[in-house]
């Protein structure tokens, strides 16, 4: 039976994992992901899932164990945060390169130093080139829905890639909201049975996996992986559409809010999209044509969809919770510039780095970004391209 209950983002992820009931979960607890591990361990202890829960000594081992089990042909999940994801970095590439459909929940937290347990997106954005699909969630309901969809996307035989489901640490992970849960049977039916393409333990069809690939073939293998990631866009959309048709909540690659006739827009990902909606509503009330573009899917990058949604915008700001030290601009901003260039869309684009290390991003601060955009739209060119929201002493 479907029911609506109060759940945090972490609780919603754990609940989805209970219903998915993967064969293997290998995890190491880390704030602010810990509540997922705690709750899931309870499900295991109470016999509510059949999962083999592997307590490992580090995140590197967690993802290594996941690679092993996924290669052995069973449905495999994990979750982490920040330093944990950083410690997994080597294995992220192994999982993607071996085309292992592992689903990982990453609770976005900043990377030390200075040590800080709070939210920003520098962990997953810093892992953007590891070859994983990356989906970002705005609230606990989206976390629940996206974890379920991620299993279908990852295990599709045309995809066969790991999926990272990202949610903002504390802001979403520890925020309790009403979440509508599907019936256990509905989830089982939606995700279906995992049918691995290759199975290391299938002695009838012996294979070798993770073997040495010399210069003669490495490039082709790598390109096949890159191609699969680019093609996975269609599957992500298809699964999001089917989820909507069946359960009433439809998902895509990007989501526009009051964007159709907008002159200025913020582009962002994760929980800031929610707060920005409130700013857009207030601005619309004043007659200002403000809009919002939420990026749900960051990898593969929705080049055409994003450029298409922005082509009539006069000025846009990319708000992201990470910096790329020494780079021409932060990660998401730079990707969007490249996407617009590729699609020959020329709009005034500025960058706002916000909320690093858990700094609050209130509505009034997002209003200042829109005020800046009004000036850029009026003058026709940006006065300053790289900006930092609510940072003391930088101007």
């Amino acid at each position: 039976m479907r029911k609506k209950i109060g759940l945090t983002g972490d609780g919603a992820a754990a609940e989805a994992m209970r219903q998915i009931d993967p064969e293997v979960v290998a995890v190491y607890p880390i704030t602010p992901q810990t509540e997922i591990v705690e709750r899931f361990a309870e499900f295991v202890a109470e016999g509510l899932v059949q999962t083999e829960l592997i307590n490992v000594e580090s995140e590197h081992s967690a993802l290594s164990a996941c690679c092993g089990s996924s290669m052995a042909g069973v449905r495999t999940m994990t979750c982490t945060s920040a330093q944990g994801l950083a410690l997994m970095h080597e294995m992220l590439y192994i999982a993607a390169g071996n085309r292992l459909p592992i689903v990982m929940v990453n609770v976005n937290r900043t990377l030390s130093a200075p040590i800080n347990i709070h939210n920003d997106q520098s962990d997953s954005l810093g892992s953007r080139d590891a070859g994983w699909i990356q989906l970002y969630c705005e609230n606990p309901q989206e976390v629940y829905d996206t974890v379920i969809q991620a299993v279908r996307i990852a295990e599709d035989h045309q995809v066969m890639l790991p999926v990272m489901v990202c949610l903002d640490g504390f802001i979403v992970s520890h925020n309790m909201e009403p979440v509508e849960l599907l019936d256990d049977g509905e989830v089982k039916e939606f995700i279906g049975e995992f049918k691995p393409r290759l199975n290391l333990l299938d002695t009838e069809r012996p294979i070798t996996a993770g073997n040495l690939t010399l210069p003669e073939y490495f490039f082709e293998h790598k390109y096949a992986q890159v191609y699969a990631l680019e093609q996975s866009k269609e599957k992500i959309e298809e699964v999001g559409r089917e989820f909507g048709d069946r359960f009433g909540r439809r998902y895509g690659l990007v989501e526009g809010y009051k964007l159709d006739d907008a002159e200025i827009a913020v582009i962002t990902l994760g929980s800031m999209a929610g707060t920005a909606r409130v700013a857009v509503d207030a601005l619309r009330g004043e007659g200002i044509k403000a809009g919002l573009l939420k990026m749900r899917c960051y990898r593969p990058f929705p080049v055409q969809e994003l450029a298409g949604a922005l082509k009539n915008i006069r000025a846009a700001a990319v708000m992201e919770k990470a910096v790329s030290p020494g780079a021409p601009g932060p990660a998401v901003f730079s990707d969007i510039i490249a996407a617009l260039y590729r699609q020959s869309v020329r709009i005034n684009l500025i960058s706002y780095v916000a909320g690093l290390g858990g700094r609050d991003v209130p509505v009034k601060s997002i209003h200042r970004v829109y005020e800046h955009l009004q000036k850029v739209a009026a003058s026709g060119e940006p006065d300053r391209i790289l900006n930092y929201l609510d940072l003391r002493g930088w101007e």
Binding site: G6, F170, N175, E177, P178, S271, M272, D360, P362
Partner: protein, 191 residues
């Protein structure tokens, strides 16, 4: 509810304010209200001042930021009144609901208030000591707050407690807590 109601909780680490704020929020499901409940993300230590937040609304809530100007503040420990400015940012005409052994007039005086806020007091330590056997103010304060808010019926507050904690606590403990919630609901006094 025409507008969103924003509540800030002040307590000491270990008093169960986060649990209470979640419990109150979950009760709101029974009234078909939307809600958010989240702690202020600091370093939490037993006994140190902590803050938690609750939003309630009849429309979906999209805000993912702290509450800077609450409609109500709830204080779980009277010794915080001298340590933390609990009325900081409180909207004009907002409410202070405190676990406090004296009358609301004394509470208003201790806070230096001159009629700008609605003031409510309830002796949650006394109630919890008598009903539960320990001075744990979190569940009774949910009862007091429910009365002051008037948005969630007492029966829904009680039913949510039974459902959430029924499998974690013995029926005796559940009954004691329900009594404490009910008493605080009845005994909270306004200025």
């Amino acid at each position: 509810m025409a507008e969103m109601l924003e509540i800030r909780w002040h307590a000491r680490g270990g008093q169960g304010a986060v649990l209470a704020s979640r419990y109150l929020a979950a009760s709101a499901i029974r009234e078909n209200l939307y809600f958010q409940s989240f702690p202020q993300f600091g370093t939490e230590r037993m006994g140190a001042p902590i803050v938690a937040y609750t939003r309630l609304s009849d429309a979906p809530i999209y805000l993912y930021c702290a509450i800077e100007e609450p409609d109500m503040v709830v204080v779980l420990d009277p010794t915080l009144l001298k340590v933390v400015k609990v009325t900081a940012g409180l909207k004009p005409g907002g409410a202070v609901v405190a676990n406090y052994p004296g009358a609301p007039a004394e509470l208003a005086q201790e806070l230096g208030l001159k009629g700008e806020y609605r003031v409510y007091s309830v002796d949650a330590y006394k109630i919890s000591t008598e009903e539960i056997g320990r001075p744990i103010p979190n569940t009774p304060m949910v009862g007091a707050l429910a009365r002051v808010m008037g948005r969630i019926k007492l029966e829904n507050i009680l039913a949510e407690f039974s459902e959430q904690f029924g499998h974690r606590f013995s029926s005796e403990v559940v009954t004691k807590n329900l009594n404490a919630v009910r008493r605080a609901y009845e005994e909270v006094q306004s200025l």
